[in-house]
Amino acid sequence: MTLDTVGRVNSRIARDLDAAFPDLVRDMQNGIYSGVLRMVPSPADAEDITQETFIRAYRALSEYSRERIHDLNLPGWIWTIALNLCRNAARTRSRRPRTVELDRDAFSGGKGPEAMAMESDENRRWRQLLYQLPAAQRSAVVLRHVVGLSYREIAEATGRPEGTVKADVHRGITRLQEALT
């Protein structure tokens, strides 16, 4: 997302959250899911956390003033929520109860529950590799290279200075390279 389109998304959300939010979910879900998937133990956890991230984002946005929404660094802000949930997921492993439970059997399109349950060997290997990294390096590497956030956005998401984030990414990559050779 360029700065310009980000700004326009913010205005749309500030103007009419309910109308803009479904598009925000559609635009960001692949990124959030891809990133979370590399930071939690299982695809089921990743799905749960991705949902919870958006639900919390919606609730927070509906309380925020227009000014506050305008000033938000949306990708960074949403990732703050997601990273918090990822940290908690390591402690509590239970699925969050939903007030309404989707009939998942009716969703065969896209990646169904069966495909999700079967994790490829490749995925498992990457999970192990990434898990060996210190948490800060892991999230920095994932956000930079899997999700494609800018350093500024990662700094926002992790609450760490941009310089530190760059160093985290660099060290993480070096470690991964060592592990792979």
Binding site: P22, Q29, N30, S34, L37, Q51, Y58, A106, V146
Partner: protein, 255 residues
């Protein structure tokens, strides 16, 4: 090189994520198949209550119609939220709206008034369009009442099938007159008797012991034995015979 490998880890989110989020935030409605008086029906809901009831048989068709009508998505769910499920079961068993929450958003005040009044008609009874119009304080709006009922998003639970033509004929129904007849018969209405009265131009019946006249399906009218039942073509005829309108079914001004 490792950058590229990491990039390739980006994947598509499961197709269930967005629907579950939209359901949880109330930006989409959930729906499921639910037994109704004449077979299964689709029931949709959101945090405000029941948003639609459909006698459609095909899920895809139901979804398409819903999204055109309400301009928001609808997704299949496993079950209704517990409280809603309980209220719906009770409403269907008693054939009364009771405490079942309805999503009235998106309806005009007039349509809401029509539907709330319609919900007061007891099972086993029917009322003409003009009765609704008069009861909501808009006696001339008979045609508009018909339109509001034709667009009832929650048939069965708001019993628009209990509203009939002013001449007593069953009249139109979104799913056809035959379905209207079936739904009425399922709740114990003798549609043939109703038809017979309509064919003979009888709009009111009275009791020669109480000298009260009623809508023919009023529960008080149905208590009157055949021997004591008198028939009237209109209000004037009844009044001239010295009868007064029933206080329960308020039949006066039925044209």
């Amino acid at each position: 090189m490792i950058d590229k490998q990491l990039e390739d880890l980006a994947t598509e989110a499961p197709s269930t994520i967005a629907p579950q989020v939209l359901l949880e935030t109330g930006l989409a409605d959930g729906y499921l198949r639910h037994p109704g008086p004449t077979g299964d029906m689709f029931v949709s809901f959101n945090p405000r209550g029941i948003s639609s009831v459909s006698l459609e048989s095909d899920a895809q068709q139901f979804e398409d119609q819903f999204e055109v009508q309400f301009r928001r998505p609808v997704f299949p769910v496993k079950q209704l939220p517990t409280r809603l499920a309980r209220a719906l079961d009770k409403a269907l068993a008693t054939r009364r709206l009771g405490t079942l929450p309805i999503d009235w958003d998106g309806m005009t005040e007039f349509q809401q008034a029509v539907l709330r009044k319609t919900a007061e008609i007891l099972p086993g009874e029917v009322r003409p369009y003009s009765w609704i119009a008069k009861e909501i304080g808009n006696p001339k709006a008979v045609r508009a009442v018909g339109t509001a009922l034709a667009r009832n998003p929650v048939p069965i639970v708001v019993p628009c099938h209990r509203v009939v033509r002013n001449d007593g004929q069953l009249g139109n129904y979104y799913y056809g007159t035959e379905v209207k007849r079936a739904v009425l018969e399922a709740e114990g209405m003798n549609v043939d008797t109703l038809q017979d009265l309509a064919d003979r131009g009888i709009k009111l019946t009275g009791s020669d012991t109480t000298h009260i006249f009623c809508n023919p399906t009023c529960r008080d009218a149905r208590r009157t034995t055949e021997r004591h039942t008198v028939e009237f073509r209109n209000e004037t005829e009844a009044r001239q015979a010295g009868y007064r309108p029933c206080r329960h079914c308020r039949p006066a001004a039925v044209a």
